[in-house]
């Protein structure tokens, strides 16, 4: 009976598996490391599969799986470094990539944006990517990250402001250079 129940309740494997590209995109935006993102997704999918009976509402499948990935990501960070308190570096941790100043080519806007996003503090980066990449509503993001909606809004606000400054700095440089060249 339990076997049959497990088979029929909860989402079917293909519907979870279909989220793989979505999860990978979010994971990559969080950690900017392809191999790590892939591991996170794999971890998340297997956890989601074993816990599928816990999902109450099929419509919130995506948010539910992403919240599992959030926990996987936090677990990973905990195991990697000896942080005492996750909350402490929620606002400080950057992912290790080259600085946005390193890539200011016009063709490399994508790389620029990625580098700038990577420099955002972890909490802001997560909120920003969930809202911008996957169009989650603020309430859903609050549920996924287990924080109040007000925090989602303030983190998003700070994230976009920071991103804008980071990008403005990078984009300004080539413009100034070309101006100098002209004078010469």
């Amino acid at each position: 009976m339990t076997m049959i129940g497990k088979l029929f309740f909860g989402p079917f494997r293909p519907s979870i598996e279909a989220l793989r590209p979505v999860l990978y995109r979010i994971a990559y935006a969080w950690c900017h490391d392809a191999a790590l993102a892939d591991d996170l997704v794999q971890d998340t999918l297997s956890k989601a599969w074993t816990r599928r009976a816990q999902l109450r509402d099929e419509a919130s499948l995506k948010a539910w799986v992403v919240s599992i990935m959030h926990h996987c990501w936090i677990d990973h960070l905990r195991s990697r470094r000896d942080f005492d308190d996750v909350e402490l570096w929620q606002d400080t941790l950057e992912s290790p990539t080259e600085s946005p100043e390193a890539c200011c080519n016009r063709e490399q806007v994508i790389a620029c944006v990625r580098a700038a996003v990577a420099r955002l503090p972890l909490g802001q980066r997560q909120v920003l990517t969930l809202v911008d990449l996957e169009e989650f509503s603020y309430v859903e993001v609050a549920g996924i990250l287990d924080i109040p909606v007000g925090t989602v809004m303030s983190r998003l606000s700070r994230a976009r402001a920071n991103l804008k400054t980071l990008l403005d700095n990078t984009m300004k440089q080539p413009a100034a250079e070309s101006l100098l060249r002209r004078v010469k």
Binding site: L7, Y24, R25, Y28, A29, A34, A35, A37, D38, Q42, V109, I110, V113, R114, V117, L128, T129, V131, D132, L133, E135, S137, Y138, M153, S154, L156, S157, R160, A161, L163, K164, L167
Partner: protein, 243 residues
């Protein structure tokens, strides 16, 4: 009302978190406030830049295929059996239907017209003709086409719904005093209950703002927008034909 719009509100606006009333209020303010609309624009482009940056994340190196644990294998077998059973039983249940489906001949469309549908299979018994030109031959084609579809369906005893959607200059067809085919249209409406004439309100508003008096024929109704009407119908499974 005149308080400065906070960043949070603008963020909520571009993320689609505001309700309709708040949205409209903000849009109205933006029309008069250039700095405000520039701020919203900058935020929106920032958002799309982030989106763009991650549309194609670099792929991770291919990982080795993992062997399925035994329990999962058993589950897979169970699934396969279920699918097989479902297929067999539905095949048995549907065996009578096949004959019926085969007799449902789709309405013939003239060459060169494309058929598209958002709702999976286009339903040949519900056809929407889209007219956006005031050229007499295009109008005539639309009318002929509608009449032919309805007559054919009537002769064969099939149900058929036809809707003629007009926007841009095509709206002339449905304007009282302008339409060259008003009498024929009235006759068609009388003969076929399933024929609808729909005009685009935006086009009417545009014409009115240019100083023209737009009055629709009594048989025509106005929809908020022609595109909205078309998309709704497509989602309902209608067949779309552009005349």
């Amino acid at each position: 009302m005149n308080a400065a719009v906070s960043d949070e509100t603008l963020h909520a606006f571009i993320d689609g978190e505001l309700d309709v009333a708040e949205c409209e209020q903000l849009l109205a303010r933006m029309r008069n406030d250039e700095a405000l609309s520039r701020r919203a624009c900058a935020l929106r482009s920032l958002k799309s830049m982030v989106r763009l940056a991650y549309t194609k994340p670099p792929a991770a190196a291919a990982r080795a295929a993992r062997a399925l644990p035994k329990q999962r294998l058993v589950q897979r077998c169970a699934y396969a059996c279920l699918v097989l059973l479902a297929g067999l039983s539905s095949g048995w249940a549907l065996r009578g239907l096949e004959a019926q489906v085969a007799t449902k001949v789709p309405a013939t469309l003239p060459g060169g017209y494309q058929m598209i549908s958002l709702g999976g299979e286009p339903d040949p018994s519900r056809v929407m003709l889209h007219l956006d030109s005031s050229a007499p031959e295009r109008m005539l084609t639309a009318l002929d086409q509608a009449e032919r579809l309805l007559d054919e369906a009537e002769r064969e005893g099939r149900a058929m719904q036809v809707e003629i959607v007009a926007n841009s200059h095509g709206i002339d067809l449905m304007r009282a005093g302008v339409s060259p085919y008003a009498a024929r249209m009235a006759k068609m409406t009388q003969r076929h209950a399933n024929l609808q004439w729909v005009a685009c309100s935006q086009t009417i508003a545009r014409f009115t703002s240019q100083g023209q008096n737009v009055e629709l024929l009594p048989t025509a109704r106005a929809a908020p927008t022609a595109i909205g009407e078309i998309v709704t119908r497509l989602q309902q499974g209608w067949t779309y034909v552009r005349v």
